[in-house]
């Protein structure tokens, strides 16, 4: 029998505290005793009783004052003692907790690591969630701001862009919107060339109307936003800079306001700088805002049919979303009746700005938060189980302590201190893991997370972590400490050295394991669905060959004024790049796949011409010679474009399989060649059919598309696809230099590889799949650890019983069945509960899944098999240990 070191000479008992009444009566009694003795002495010397009492009181001095003085001193002493005791006990508990954790390093390490993992994951995901979702948007009263879309119900378009005339009418007529503004922006596609100060640079800029800044309501960091008259053509050469660009390019020089920048070869006055968090409408980074009026009707069409603006509105006070929606819908309906050049756009829809900005990120983040919460609960259940096991082993130690006078509350408090110490240490480790985790998350998903810059580990996050740690400590510490302190401790002293778990304790521990397994099942099902969905997504044929291709984005500068000069430059750029060593070919398109949708058009056929605004919807792309070869898109039939398809040659068109199928449903591909598509006053002859390209996203079906040669339908934006031999990035400098040898002032918007364009399209599903897989794996491991722990403990506890069974002739098979059977029973109960819960909760994953149902039966069956196999493995080791029990030794034990 061993004594825990802690019980040596330590005072775990205390005198009961005295109340004020007790103090008073004690002081009274003490003083009465004194007076009586003095009086007795006087009476012995011959004094009369009454006189003796009087004399004693007189000699004493101020009796009433002394009595009160003594009471006060005693009361003070009591409260000081109480304070000391509590502090002293806490210190003892803490010291004891650390010592007993060090005495059981295996337990401490496992518990700490599990806990740190759980808390770290929660810290990391919470940091991201807070930065992205919970941090208020950098606008004044953001909940008052809505996005307004134009809708065309006949096509099922409910969130379309708006033409400028329509927007101006909406703004003029709306009474329920306090202000309304519009902008044109596409990340990485809209921009201005900055020259004249250092290197030429392509600025990512948003083109905004009057009302844009007023609607968002964010005051400028420096200077001001645009004044109304700066949206009037002729007076609109003004620019507002972003904080990021101002810092990066001008070193945050405050003298910038009022100075002049050369943009697109024209002087613009800097009127203001916006605050750091304000990057709207870009998700992460923008350089500048320019009045939309800078681009005249010659550059961007202002007809009602040209839908290109995004509209934001601030609701007037007291107006609901629905009321604003109804008002603008009414205006839109009336406008579509009044003007026949805009048929079908009869409706408008609204959406909260926060939802429009963050809606896509919300579901995955909430899913991840739920996953890490489950992980932490599993971790807590695991540690609670370990604590139960330890408490059982320590029953004698606790019994001794109780016998020495420690109350039940005192023992429970001490065990709880131990749990909270563990939780505190785990939390501290968790914060470190969390900081690492946040960095990793932001690094992996920066391009996919809106507002990634506001993600950080700060006071709020630390408070969250502290709260989670304490909650975890209570979660895994409360039940074991209450149970341990209420167990029949006196009985533990009498019984043998080995403590015994009551059947209630066993039930509780088994229940914890079932809970762990059930949560692990939910995590693994989620992980399975996300990884399968991701695998299906990346196995989709994008319609082009992503490997071995470089992408260079640039614009033909405005200084090439004549059409001929632009076309010549366009062709020269491509020819120069094709001549670079290692380049096989190069082709250009206005909107790169997965980066833009081309121009929306409606077409008919010569046989069935379409009325204006009617016909089959298609994406129109302007491409160069060799575009399909550079992209790796197969030509199904006919021919691709050649340089002979120039401006004065007959207009020709290439369609994709989808458009061919829609326009000529009964024709084989070859039969489409030579057919005619009416195009305004002209007619386009189909010369080729190409394979479908996923233009918008891998997760969405390819759209019908038609391709015109840029020589016949010029657009100045060039997304040049360069097909190279070997690593495409090795050719970046040569390609850039080739362009600059032609035109030293050419700004290049970006260079990247086709593979990374494809990669960023699947970045979010990939991140989700990876993280859920990671959490699923950890959950599974912890669940297995839980089963293992309970069985190993049970085998240890039941040594004697097993020994007796073996002595009575039980075969190894029976013993194995006994242990493994119990493990599998726990696992089955957990799996059954887990699959039921998973079937309910994974439904919420549907919107982030591709090509797989959230209720995919195969996944559920696979999870069942994986879980049971893991459980079998976890039961096997304790079972083997049970087999090795020597009955002779086991029976002699104790």
């Amino acid at each position: 029998m061993t004594h825990p070191p802690s019980s040596r000479g330590r005072r775990f008992f205390q005198f009961p505290r005295r109340t004020r009444g007790q103090i008073a009566s004690e002081v009274d009694e003490e003083l009465r005793f004194h007076l009586d003795r003095v009086a007795e002495g006087l009476m012995a010397a011959g004094w009369g009783t009454a006189e003796a009492r009087q004399e004693a009181a007189r000699r004493f001095g101020d009796l009433a004052y002394t009595n009160q003085y003594c009471r006060d001193e005693d009361a003070r002493r009591e409260s000081e003692k109480r304070r000391m005791t509590i502090l002293e006990e806490l210190r003892q508990d803490l010291r004891y907790a650390i010592r007993s954790l060090r005495a059981a390093p295996g337990f401490a390490v496992v518990a700490l690591l599990t806990l740190a993992l759980g808390i770290g994951a929660n810290t990391a995901v919470f940091s991201v969630m807070r930065g992205v979702l919970l941090e208020p948007l950098p606008f004044a009263e953001p909940e008052q701001i809505v996005r307004v879309y134009h809708a065309r119900p006949v096509d099922g378009i409910d969130r379309g862009a708006v033409s400028e005339p329509d927007f101006l009418d909406w703004r003029a007529e709306s009474r329920r919107a306090q202000s309304m503004g519009a902008y044109f922006f596409a990340d990485g596609l809209v921009g201005m060339d900055l020259t004249g100060r250092g290197n030429p640079e392509r600025l990512s800029a948003a083109l905004v109307t009057d009302g844009f800044f007023q609607t968002l309501g964010t005051p400028a960091h420096l200077g001001r936003a645009f004044a109304p008259d700066e949206h009037v053509p002729g007076r609109d050469r003004a620019v507002v800079l972003s904080h990021g660009f101002w810092t990066r390019r001008f070193g945050a020089d405050t003298a910038i306001v009022g100075s002049t920048l050369i943009l697109n070869d024209e002087p613009f006055q800097v009127v203001g700088v916006m605050p750091p968090a304000f990057t709207y409408p870009a998700a992460q980074q923008i350089d500048a805002w320019i009045p939309l009026s800078v681009f005249g009707p010659g550059q961007i069409g202002r007809a009602r049919g040209v839908h290109f603006l995004s509209v934001i509105a601030r609701r007037a006070p007291g107006v609901s979303d629905a009321e604003l929606d109804a008002e603008i819908s009414g205006i839109a309906a009336r406008l579509s009746r009044e003007y026949d050049d805009n048929p079908g756009w009869t409706d408008a829809t609204t959406q909260r700005l926060s939802e429009a900005m963050l809606g896509g990120a919300r579901r995955p983040l909430v899913l991840l938060m739920a996953a890490v919460a489950m992980l932490l609960i599993i971790a807590c259940a695991n540690i609670a189980n370990l604590m139960f096991a330890r408490a059982t082993v320590r029953q004698r130690e606790l019994a001794v302590r109780a016998a020495l006078g420690a109350g039940r509350g005192r023992i429970a408090r001490q065990l709880l201190t131990e749990s909270l110490t563990l939780a505190g240490l785990g939390g501290a480790l968790g914060v470190i893991l969390g900081i690492v985790g946040v960095r990793a998350l932001v690094g992996l998903g920066a391009s996919e997370l809106p507002r990634a810059s506001s993600i950080r580990v700060d006071g709020t996050v630390l408070a969250f972590t502290a709260l989670v740690s304490v909650a975890a400590g209570l979660l895994f510490g409360l039940a074991p400490s209450i149970r341990a302190s209420s167990a029949k401790l006196a009985g533990a002293l009498r019984s043998g050295a080995r403590g015994s778990v009551g059947s209630a304790g066993q039930r509780l521990r088994s229940g914890l394991v079932v809970l762990e397994v059930a949560l692990a099942v939910v995590l693994v099902v989620g992980a399975g669905l996300a990884t399968k969905s991701f695998a299906r997504l990346i196995s989709v044929d994008p319609g082009f060959a992503p490997g071995g291709a470089l992408v260079v984005e640039m614009n033909v500068p405005d200084r090439f004024q004549s059409r001929e000069a632009r076309l010549l430059y366009y062709q020269q750029v491509l020819e120069t790049i094709r001549a670079v060593r290692g380049v096989q070919t190069a082709g250009s398109v206005r909107d790169l796949p997965l980066r833009g949708n081309g121009e929306g058009v409606r077409v008919g056929t010569a046989e069935r011409p379409a009325a204006p605004g009617e016909g089959t919807r298609a994406q129109l792309h302007q491409i160069s010679t060799d575009y399909f070869r550079a992209l790796g898109t197969p030509l199904r039939t006919g021919r691709a474009f050649a340089n002979t398809d120039h401006a004065s040659a007959p207009p020709v068109v290439v369609v994709n399989e989808e458009l061919a199928r829609l326009l000529w449903p009964r024709e084989p591909a070859a039969g489409v060649i030579g057919r005619v598509i009416p195009w305004g006053a002209a007619e386009l002859t189909v010369v080729g059919v190409v394979g479908n390209i996923h233009q918008h996203s891998l997760a969405e079906a390819p759209e019908p598309a038609m391709y015109l040669h840029a020589l016949q339908n010029f657009r100045s934006r060039m997304s040049i696809v360069v097909r190279t031999s070997g690593d495409p990035l090795a050719h970046v400098e040569n390609v850039k230099n080739a362009i600059w040898s032609l035109e030293p002032n050419q700004t290049i918007t970006s260079t990247t590889t086709l593979a990374s364009v494809l990669g960023s399209d699947v970045a979010r599903p990939r991140l989700l799949a990876w993280l859920l897989a990671l959490f699923g794996f950890i959950g599974l491991t912890l669940g297995a650890l839980g089963i293992f722990g309970v069985l190993a403990f049970a085998v240890n506890q039941r040594r004697q019983e097993i020994g007796v069974r073996v002595a009575l002739g039980a075969t190894p098979r029976t013993v194995l069945a006994l242990v493994v059977g119990r493990g599998m029973l726990l696992a089955l109960a957990g799996v059954a509960a887990g699959l039921t819960v998973a079937a309910l909760v994974t439904r919420s994953m549907q919107s982030v899944l591709y090509g797989i149902e959230a209720s995919d039966p195969l996944t559920f069956v696979q999870v069942l098999v994986v879980l049971l196999a893991t459980a079998l493995l976890a039961s096997w080791i304790p079972a083997r240990r049970a087999l090795r029990i020597d009955p002779a030794v086991a029976l002699r034990y104790d």
Partner: protein
């Protein structure tokens, strides 16, 4: 009693009580008796001051108390000097000695 007992200089009551208790644990009445007998009545601690001092010393942790039975078989509160109390007593005695030495230096030169 021929002579009036000497009143005590402020602060010396504590020293006297602590010193008394180094002999044995005793109750308040015992302490007052003991001081009177040892000094042949020359020093008298007023009872009120004695009890105030005892409770003050107990709060400071220099003495501790326990209820017991007196020689007359009555319940009485007994005081015992603590380890801290003994240390304090040494400090007090040293300080008192310096005070008295200084005092006499002045008195004798006069």
């Amino acid at each position: 009693m021929a002579r009036e007992a000497l009143g005590l200089v402020q602060g010396t009551v504590d020293v006297l009580i602590l010193k008394t208790l180094t002999w044995a644990p005793m109750h308040g009445y015992g302490v007052s008796q003991w001081i009177r007998q040892r000094t042949d009545g020359a020093l008298a601690v007023e009872d009120a001051a004695l009890y105030q001092a005892l409770h003050r010393l107990e709060r400071k942790g220099w003495v501790e108390s326990e209820w017991g039975t007196s020689d007359t078989n009555r319940r009485a509160k007994f005081y015992r000097i603590t380890r801290d109390g003994r240390k304090q007593l040494q400090t007090d005695i040293a300080q008192l000695r310096r005070y008295v030495d200084a005092l006499f230096k002045v008195l004798q030169t006069a």
